[in-house]
Amino acid sequence: MDPELIKDCVHCGFCLPTCPTYVLWGEEMDSPRGRIHLMAQHNEGVPMSPEMAGHFDACLGCMACVTACPSGVQYDRLIEHTRPVVEREHTREPRDRAVRALVFALFPYPRRLRLVKPFTRLNRRLAPFLERVHPTLGALAELTPPRSRTRPLPALVRARGRRRARVGLLTGCVQGAFFPDVNRATARVLALEGCDVVIPRGQGCCGALSLHSGYDARTFAKKTIATFEKAGVDTVVVNAAGCGSSMKDYADVLADDPDWRLRASRLKVRDLAEYLVELGPVAERHPLPLTVAYHDACHLAHAQGVRAQPRELLGEIPDLKVREISESAICCGSAGTYNLFQPAPARELGERKAVRVEETGADLLVSANPGCTMQITTAMRRLGRPPIPVAHTAQVLDASLRGLGTVR
């Protein structure tokens, strides 16, 4: 925990109202300012007690505080550096260790995820039992979306009309396994906007899950960089917020290795919405008579600062109205693996978000991160609310570009 980064914090408290755990509990040590104070204490030699570790574990890593901070404190880097220290110095209960091992052996591996997919329906029925075994297993069972058919994407989708760019598409782990339609829509939108879309086979996890949880992400990062270098693309386009934010951090992740750091810094990574706005529209937008609520995924809005672009893209679609969700800066509680390891606060935040989404009265929720989508739909189901259909920005654009008229 770099004392120089800690020193940037002037203790003004502007981060508190955007911190989800402070919003829930109102306690200093579960706020960014308090956690930075704990980091400083640890640097002074205070050992990593279970209490201290608990407050770091309770941080969602949503980075809303980074957006709110007027002094430019890099809390994102601070917490990313703190998590491995927690893993090293804090001994978790054997049960917790076991479920963590399970999650990290499963999620970053798309093929393994696809193997467990047939059991998802069974999962939900087993949820109460699994909940008793370990809360993380209960949350896991509750969150998994219903099965969907996966058809492999082609290795190359050619640009329609004049070719303007050659981009790579990261298919992601959870996105690829549970939301394959989002990847198909992304590829179509990019192609319709004049991009050759390269979808390298055998791409693995980008390392986001590990990086955001304090585990070593370097192997994942190197493999992903090598894959896209080989694909010979101008830009890697990412449609999952968490993945995009971790890929943009590769140079920091690989800082110890000059060669890899250089390769990382040469890899141009863009979120889909960010990329489409940079590229500028050419394809015709057909009307979509819909009212949508746009949900800011934390790793898009806060970690990548991509807030205006998705709204701009949606706003350009004729007949489509965009409504804002109140408290949009507050995380929905998904936060990577957070809803698995901290199910209680995650549920509370999920329900809070579900209520705010419902208040908008929108026909459709637009969410650009698979984790958020699962989290919010699960919360709505738990609250017994009529489910609101959820689509990725890519799917809404796809529907408009293809003139489908309505999205379901």
Partner: protein, 472 residues
Amino acid sequence: MTVFDRLEAIFPPDRVITDPVRLRTYECDGLTYHRATPMVVVLPETAAEVAAVVKACAEFGVPFVARGSGTGLSGGALPRSDGVLIVTSRMRRILSVDLDRRQAVVEPGVTNLAITEAVRDQGYYYAPDPSSQQICSIGGNVAENSGGAHCLKYGFTVNHVQALEIVTPDGEIVEISEDDFGYDLLGAFVGSEGTLGIATKITVRLMRAPEAVTTLLAAFETIEAGGQAVSSIVGAGILPAAIEMMDALAIEAAEAAVSCGYPADAGAVLIVELDGPTPDVESQLAEVIAICVATGSFEQRVAASAEERAKIWKGRKSAFAAVGRISPAYIVQDGVVPRTCLGEVLAGIDALQTEFGIRVANVFHAGDGNLHPLVLFDDTAPGEGERAEVVSGRILDLCILHGGSITGEHGVGVDKARYMPRMFTDADLDTMQRVRCAFDPGGRSNPGKVFPTPRLCGEVPRVRKGSPGEIF
């Protein structure tokens, strides 16, 4: 039986904090160079719980300090290492909103901005707007009598609180209201910095949002010319919602941090905001622009949209934090001078800069003469911290010399208690002390604040870094 046993009987375990690592996160508020780890922290959720804690403190002779969001800039919520810290951050319900009577009743942990957000859609707002309004608690605002950029026209917290439910230092729950007969206890309580008890329920006035708001940015070659414009505007009988000024150093910092696009080469910029019925605002705007031109302004910009208005304010809003980026450390000072002496005092500050080799950036509420000089220094350079501290104190001397005050809105707290004798005679201080003793004869409610205590020999607080808390 100890006070701990009593607290554990009042609260569930998760609302009494005794773990030393956790306790230390409460060691300071927004002013970080005074630190003390509280003996115990409690997180009440009701007035009855606050009263129970305060009673327990009375019984065991233990001091207590109330804290809201911990954003104060005078150390008013500095804990006592032998005392209980009562944190109101979980008392954050808006209890009722009555638009017909234009009032809302809220708990002390509700943030200042949350009140406005609750009524904004209906066309109302809560007027006092401290820079930290997104997080500072209304209970803290009551304790400090907080202001903000717009208090020039609309007044301070004391003008917007209609009634309070308080827990007295004996642990009694009492209601005081502006409608009460007799002495103005409400007026005495607001701004008492936690020395008279703890507010547990606050009835605030809601204001109708103005029909029109317009914001002007005027650039001047010198700060004196800007100051002249301020005097002329007020002298012309115009009462803007806000008049803010920034000097060249502050502009440079803000520009570097947020690229707010203020006119280049300006020695000072003035932000004038006018609000009210549209025809009034329009005619006043024309008059203000004419005055600015007459006093030497070389560029005037009027915000054409809400976005442009936000952009003008962004530079001002970010000035404090931005200064932190151009200087390793700084002290945020808060003093008041009569508006007519603005020029002289600024010249005096200028002389201090030269004399001590310390830079001072000026950001202030020019309309009511509330200065926020930012004394910049390098905390790693030997002796610079001490020199900055001297400059900071001398600025307050200048304010007093010109008939001003040692604090405009940040409060006395622990930080300025030592300056009180420069402004008040012993007889003044004794009189204040008597008022305090009438409420708190045991001296348990936030002791050690406001009133000067004998200073330790040669004590120079270790200044880590200033705080950007005050932005508006």
